[in-house]
Symmetry: C5
């Protein structure tokens, strides 16, 4: 589905526009045109290619999802791929949904292609465009792209902070010693899955830094006035990747601690087994059927045997405690 | 076996050409010559060397397989080594077959040498050459090489995505807790083998980026019009290596999870052993042959002993559950 | 809360200044103005923005905590974010408190914004400003910032050295073999937590190097006379990060040693279990109720059986000791 | 021992030359002089220093083995250190022998110093010099050095490929499940030792790349005609290091798989122990000596007890199989 | 304690010099002055600062130990920090003693400050200065510094080679299978401690490379004639760090092998336990008190039971051997 919007001096013009209008308005001096395509059909992408005179490679790329986050500069326009992410609730604590978004950005236009069943909402982006009409009018595509990427990265920051909280929960879970085995094994799976999502987030975020550098290299699109803005987003991307790296390392350490906790408990169990085996041996001795076992006839034989069992276990208990085996 | 083809203005000329024709046509202005050698014999490679005036080192390299993926620029031509990969079905999920391919590329010719029992098929490559005759006519060897490498890298992408699916399957396998030991031990081997294939793919793919940069440094071979095309392949190579890195890390984590799962189960088994050892000790006690064991004469002695056994096991069970040891 | 101070030729002027005074004094030639905001309110930050003509992005950043340590150069001023750290006593050995601090630095002014319940104390910083009035008068904001960052980094150094001591304690704890299991499991948690704090410290310290490089790029703020000073702080930052890396590696190794110690003890316990199982089997044999067991009738049967038990255990003990299993 | 050879126009001159002849021939225009020292004595090295006017540092270096692989450029000559490697058969599969070799290379001479009990044989190198007299005559020391390094690196390639085969064998060994414990523990040691040799090979090979770059920086020694040759060796060095890295990673993974295989078997053993412990408990129960145990009097008591034992074991077996514990 | 020496044309002048003499001689043209301070007092450092017109930061640094190895260039002099290391004998194989040394180096003077209870001996350094009077006269501070750093790095080389030997010993220890448990656990600790010392050595050595590069950037201190000398030390530093890296990796692998050896032995012990548990069960069966157990009455019952026990154990033994569990 294609929607066409236009802004004259940063203010939206009447809403019912066609692709034909768009083509006309792009040439008008004070206008900024926004074409938004959701769930793109092949011919729609081709139509965009024709209107904006896109390079065949760009058109081919736009036909397919699963591009890396990137910015490619072509004669007169930039091709931008970002991966907005949404957090979908899941029983084990939320899963990332990739809402891939492609954009062709020229000095006076932006064309966005949004993929997926629940594409990235551009409401917030549009709201900020309308909130700074003078910037939209003066900087056009460069400003529009900045706002778009900034919104995406702000979502990344929220997500990475939510991940940080979940990692803290998992850490508490590990050190509070889980109540049941099921929880313990669940912890392990949750650590693994969170780590995977963190790595996934990082993979989408990290290439953006280079992308933002590339946009700034094209003065026709990102004028010098936009430089602090792009630097600011770039800084946020860096924060996302650093936090993601931290969380990943923390989770790796947690998994190691978990393994060593399990080993610790096995050691404890083995020590207890040792404590039980000794009186079992004593019982075995006095269960032997030799004709000539004087102790068996003693009146204090039985209590003495029980006492010996208790004593041996007690000694073992103390020794193991002292050695830190129990 | 040598096959010679030629294209005049991008359109194929009559098919029955000899090496002699090739030598003549290379000098013709609007012609592009393609010599394809499969299962090369020593003298065939030498013949190519003579026709294209290749450096002795290039000829020596072409005599041997097992070159690194690379591009080397010589006076007037480039020597290209790529490793197309095919996926051969195997009982444990597919194995990569290396179809090493060497090419000498000049402005107006390409000579391909294909190795192995099942060499890389150039049908798709030729199809795309024929589909863009104007590019083949204008850009010659640079375009032909781009198409060749692009096809190889497209195969890499398919393979790496297939690997991603297999890794997801393995992940499910690990967390669904395998039904039998055989499957469990099989998982481990499959994780290891997939990891090895991923590393192998990465090894063939990663050096291509530098290779593509080198080709673009030689304006006689890759004109500026080809730049976006080469950048595009380079981007795909990057995607392959990034995905490969991700899969490898995922598999490493999976193997760790697997080890900790095994440890977990041993802990559980140890706890169960502890639960059984205690009543065994009690039974041992009442199996002793002391003359004077009053409990043995009690009418409720036996049921009381059984009850004590059950009770002790029950208490241990509850304690272990609470401590998360079971 | 806003406090305004001013220094004429490096010497403090009368203390009761308002924001209005500040605005006037900034334009006065021999003056250096310091505005300090703690627990900033929205309108206070905006007021600073108006006085110093700050870029909207700077103002927006200053409204929010949780910025990365950074220096951003704008027209005529630098925006500095550092994270002073305080060590708060905690039962498991001290926790870092982040006292984020933002500063706007111009040639003749510095504005500091301090966050948190216990913001970073600037007493020491001010003391050093007053101690070198000629530097404050000559170098203004560049010198003020140097002193500020130097104080922060000095705290980092103290902290990292305290961490080093704690790591040494933990190392001793691991090799002295902990007396009780609780201590052992505690060691593990303490190693993990110290490692996390070290990583956190590193995360705050490392980006400062780049920040210090950036300030020196702006000659209006950091004159050439300040260069050795900035280089000196940069060197200290490097020392902090190197020590942090060392401690982290040491702790990782310690955790591994810990795991292998636990495995060692389990092996020992298993060997002891083996030593007990053999006489238990012998006892079991002579507890069998066969009618025809000649040994049972022997007068030396019982002592012989006991002797065999002792002997078998003794042999196992010696064998295991020799093999290093015990 | 010193041997002197000389080549006029690439062809060897009469063999019986002294150091004095060498000194004279170096100044002759069409001559190339080769001095070869094996098992060098102090005075021999000093003599070389005098003849070729070597820097005191070079002479000092040449007095000692255990130099890093390197090339150092001095006024008029290059000092080259390489470490040819030979594979010595050993019971556990071959060990590398370091045959350190130093060379001083000037435009018209090369002096080689070979160390060790079995120094690197220069037969192959000399053979190739004689095979390309025109190159030796035209390029002198640069060509001689190329051939020397190329021979060394070719050996590296053979070795690294032999290592690859051994790694494949070890992999098969791990997954075929070793027949005896001795083999299993041997595998571990062999993996470790192979890994160490691979790392050693890599350490000798990797610095060569930088060395080769350095030689090419000195046009007096390596003319532009030699550039493709040096690039070719450099490519081979890269292949050696890449293969070495791969093998090392593979071996590391193998060691991990091995650890997890051992854990798997212990789990299996623990499960079997559990299966035996339950009937042991039942036997213990009916071994108790209570006066009033009605089951003991039943005629079907004994077979029923045996049946219960079998049944309980059987149930455990099935449960463990289903849970993948066995 | 301060000692003043001076060299005229590289030859020592009369020994009894005061700081006042030093100040005078520095201005004399053919003189080189060396001031050596051990166990520095505050005022001594300040005095040096005054004589050589040192920057306040240098003076402050020199007041404190625990600086990073570094070279800082100031107007007219360089501030050098190195950490000579001595090996102190210790029960577990030697410990490194840090003998921090600071030096101020000008074209015609060097001032050394030595810290610690056993400061670094400069006998060897002075000996080499006297041995090359022409170099000391011509190159002054640059040469003096080269000799100083070269002596320090030579010690590093000796130490790293000693560490290599110890690592080889530890490797033998691991594979020879330690005789007693104490040795085994000791091995682990020794591996850990050696690794820590290696990392420490590396930390002191690695920054020297950058330091040496910095000195060479200051032509007033290190003239072009000294370049090969500095390059030579730099090469040695590289060798130290590479060897240190190798040893560290080797030790890490050793620790892993150690863990897997322990696991292997536990597996073996578990298998032996399994072999004992089966006859124990059989004994338990015939220890039951059922009235109706026909086997008990058989005359061959007892030998048959013993035979069954032996047989079952024998079968298990063979099976476990075949499966590689024993």
């Amino acid at each position: 589905m294609i929607q066409v919007r236009a802004f004259r001096d940063g203010t939206p013009v009447a809403d019912d526009l066609t692709l034909g209008d768009a083509e006309r308005l792009i040439d008008e001096e004070r206008c900024f045109v926004w074409i938004d395509v959701t769930d793109p059909q092949g011919d729609e992408v081709d139509a965009l290619g024709a209107i904006f005179a896109l390079h065949p490679l760009t058109i081919e790329d736009a036909h397919h999802r699963h591009q890396r986050p990137k910015v490619e500069l072509f004669e007169g326009y930039a091709f931008v791929v970002v991966h907005p992410l949404a957090m979908r609730d899941a029983p084990d604590g939320g899963e990332l949904v990739d809402q891939e978004l492609h954009a062709f950005v020229g000095p006076r236009y932006i064309a966005t292609i949004r993929y997926g069943a629940e594409p990235f909402s551009l409401k917030g982006v549009e709201h900020r465009w309308l909130g700074q009409p003078e910037m939209l009018a003066a900087e056009g595509g460069g400003f529009a792209t900045y706002v778009l990427v900034d919104e995406v990265v702000d979502d990344y920051l929220s997500i990475v902070e939510a991940f940080e909280d979940r990692a803290d929960d998992l850490e508490d879970g590990v050190f509070e010693e889980p109540v049941t085995e099921d929880e313990g094994s669940d912890l392990q799976e949750r650590i693994f899955r969170l780590k995977r999502e963190v790595v996934r987030l990082r993979r989408f975020a990290a290439p953006l830094r280079q992308s933002l550098d590339m946009i700034q290299e094209e003065p026709k699109i990102a004028g010098s006035k936009l430089q602090p803005y792009y630097r600011d987003v770039s800084e946020h991307v860096l924060r996302v990747t650093e936090l993601a790296d931290n969380i990943r390392d923390l989770l790796t350490s947690l998994l190691e601690v978990r393994v060593s906790q399990v080993a610790n408990r096995m050691k404890k169990l083995s020590a207890w087994a040792g404590i039980i085996l000794v009186p079992t041996l004593i019982a075995g001795v006095y269960g032997m059927n030799f004709a000539n076992m004087p102790e068996l006839g003693w009146s204090v034989g039985y209590p003495a045997a029980l006492g010996t069992m208790l004593l041996s276990s007690g000694i073992l208990y103390v020794v193991f405690k002292r050695k830190g085996w129990l």
